[in-house]
Amino acid sequence: MPSTTTDAAVNDAAPEQAPEGTFWNKIGYWFPHILILAYCGTIAGAFSTQFIGNEFPCPLCMLQRMAMILASIGALWIIGQARKGTLTMSSYMMSYGLTILAAMFGMAMSGRQILLHILPGDPGYGGTVLGLHLYTWAFITFVVVLLYAALMMIFSKSTFPIAPKGNAAKWITFIVIGIFIFIIAANAVSVFFEEGLHWYLPDDPTRYELLNS
């Protein structure tokens, strides 16, 4: 018999490590935090363009925010399971699989928006940051996340996350999760104001529908 149920269970279990974990186990735990914070920062930047720059996010912009949140949720599941002590090799792989899926999805959305404005003379949608439109930056972030998740999967045995003990680590995780939840809730409220009681956002939004209905 090439394998048995017991073998499968052993293969799926967390790799044997020292209880505190190695440097790479810690990297494997903190990198998902960095991914989540990076996307929170990106979406916060988009919020500043929306509220300070008075630019209304278009439907494709909102879809890209959703893809960023989906990619972060994959990483968040790793953190949640690592803290709970239930993370297995298969669920670790599954989490990064979800992140890759969401990043590819986001690439399709931002790629679509880039192609809509690719003709010479087209000014593009909204303002620019360092010469690139926000959707172009979004495409770059999705490529980076795709590469990151692929590398973490390739080196999964050494980067298998082990949650550090102690209150400081617990609080950092708690704060990162809090910021992430706040960003999602803020998006829900913001898009509700922009969409109003309509089913879809207009292609080129120019006002908050809820305030003008």
Binding site: P59, L60, M62, L63, M66, A67, I69, L70, S72, I73, G74, L76, W77, I79, G80, Q81, A82, R83, K84, T86, L87, S91, M94, L98, L101, A102, F105, A108, M109, R112, L116, L119, D122, I177, F180, I181, I184, A185, N187, A188, V191, F192, E195, W199, Y200, L201, D203, D204
Partner: protein, 52 residues
């Protein structure tokens, strides 16, 4: 639709943070993903005012 998707994502994030079991978390993620895909399909296939 967008508001509903963000609420689904919010629920998914809460379950992910709690380290929920795959059979609980994955369906929520799948619902969020599929709804986003449906919305993307709508916007890609709708008539955009492309005045080049």
């Amino acid at each position: 639709m967008d508001t509903i998707i963000f609420i689904v994502l919010l629920i998914g994030a809460v379950f992910a943070a709690m380290g929920a079991k795959a059979k609980v978390f994955l369906p929520i993620f799948a619902v969020g993903f599929i709804l986003t895909a449906v919305l993307f399909n709508y916007h890609v296939t709708s008539n955009l005012p492309l005045s080049f």
